[in-house]
């Protein structure tokens, strides 16, 4: 399946607006979907379009929204960056461990570093921050600043 076919299939199946599915270059595609449509698009991409490899999940702080990009790949190297945005006040996403059990650690990572709420993820060890890490402090959010010790500040001054 070529990039063009995949693009057409996605647009046709989910009646996505033209600009939301893009071919960035050979073997690189991106698609932005509504959070409510995500599950269907994701399932379709895996089962019908054969995006059988999950590379990772990237979380982004985009001001009033948090975005999550699911980097999926086919066996022959086409990468689809499937992006969803959720409001920062309630950054809830659904777990994908039903499709990719290995996504567990990637989901825990966006929970720790960006404060995502992953629904359906069973309790387990957090990753990568320490257990004593303060609540509601998410280092990859843009408004997070490191609390420097007095020695560090003196050194930088």
């Amino acid at each position: 399946m070529t990039e063009e076919n995949i693009k057409d299939a996605l647009i046709k199946k989910f009646s996505l607006p033209e600009g939301k599915v893009r071919i960035q270059r050979k073997r690189r595609m991106s698609a932005e979907v509504d959070r409510l449509k995500f599950k269907d698009v994701f399932e379709y991409a895996i089962t019908e379009l054969k995006f059988v490899i999950l590379c990772t999940i990237t979380g982004l702080d985009e001001g009033s929204n948090l975005s999550f990009i699911y980097h999926l790949s086919t066996e022959d190297g086409i990468v689809l960056n499937l992006k969803i945005s959720v409001p920062k006040e309630n950054p809830a996403i659904k777990t994908i461990i039903g499709y990719f059990p290995a996504a567990d650690i990637y989901e825990r990572e966006v929970m720790d570093l960006l404060g995502a709420k992953v629904e359906g993820l069973p309790p387990g060890n957090r990753y990568p921050l320490m257990d004593e890490w303060p609540k509601d402090a998410y280092p990859l959010r843009k408004d997070w600043k490191q609390n420097k010790t007095k020695e560090q500040e003196a050194k930088n001054a």
């Binding site: 590379c55 990237t58 190297g77 960056n81 567990d104």
Partner: protein, 407 residues
Amino acid sequence: MHKVIIPVGPQHPALKEPENFMITLSGEKILKFSARLGYNHRGIEKACEERTYIQDVYLTERICGICSHSHSTCFVQAVEEIAALEVPKRALYIRTLVAELERVHSHLLWLGVAGHEVGFDTLLMYTWRDREVVMDILAMLTGNRVNYGINTIGGVRRDITPEQSKEVAKATNTLEERTKYYIQIATKETTLIKRLSGVGVLSHDDAIRLGAVGPTARASSVDRDVRRDDPYAAYGELKFKVITDNHNDVYGRTLVRMGELMESYSMIRQLLKNMPEGPIAVKAPRKIPAGEAVSRYEAPRGEDVHYVKSNGSEKPERVKVRAPTLANIQTVAKMLEDRQLADLPIVIAAIDPCFSCTDRLTVIKEAGVRKNKVMSWEDLHDYSIGWYRERGIDFAGLNKKLTRMLK
């Protein structure tokens, strides 16, 4: 039988990196294995957002001490894609050459560690001695044993001379001969075969389901390799086989890595032979236009993924890194289910988790002296003897004895 939970790490005398494994045992049998990671989290992704692109090249290089070139290449590839830079072919060839040399050193290192974990320390001594050949070559080409600093945005920083090219070819011959010997050991030596076979079994389906990458996946017949499937740098122009194996165990992982070494030698020869002439870098802008890119790289341990988002300034908006060990560590629990505790070290080692590797002291700056001085092997030897003598330990007698013995 009574259940016992053994914690291994994060600080443990036999563990080289801070991680925590909780192992639930019934007698010698492992019932459950769980890993707690993150003790080495250094906030590099956040740090990247606060630095310029060029600083980030060096920062990402320091994510790992062994596959440092993997991370810096993966990062610059993404930035080059966003900035639409046409990287000269010669630069891509040099990048790929260093990449394959890095794979050689990494796989030889792994073979030594694997030998050590099963009590075959002669293999460790042999492979690490031979690994010095490739380390010297890397030091000659880049100036460093690790953290080569060869990459820059838009190309590479050092050219390769015809003399260096000859040295690389010579070293490749030596290494190939040694690797053939190791393949012979791996396929004929009964104790090694018996110790590694049936240990750390990961079925083909589990490897795919759990998202294994690199040699760990390929030893379970998962035919995936980014170098072939999503070619980058000069890989599109090279002829090579993707090595897979159907043993599904530590023995299979050993065979895959040995096979990959042989492929690397062939690739190194092709790169040297077909190295195009021309510039080694194009000038990159300080500010990178807004955009995003995903870059993939087949590191020695498996697929490395970087995502870079730029906002038009001189600092990236977001840098995301997925190192191969994060994908592979999740397979370990499966490999250890219902297995013996004694298999734990080799099974963990068999995914080749990233252990740090330290640099040597070669260049020193003397106070008041402007010029840097390069220490020769003899200088370094004398320096170490002097260092101990100052602390009341004298090697003079031992040294004489050693000199006599060497004569």
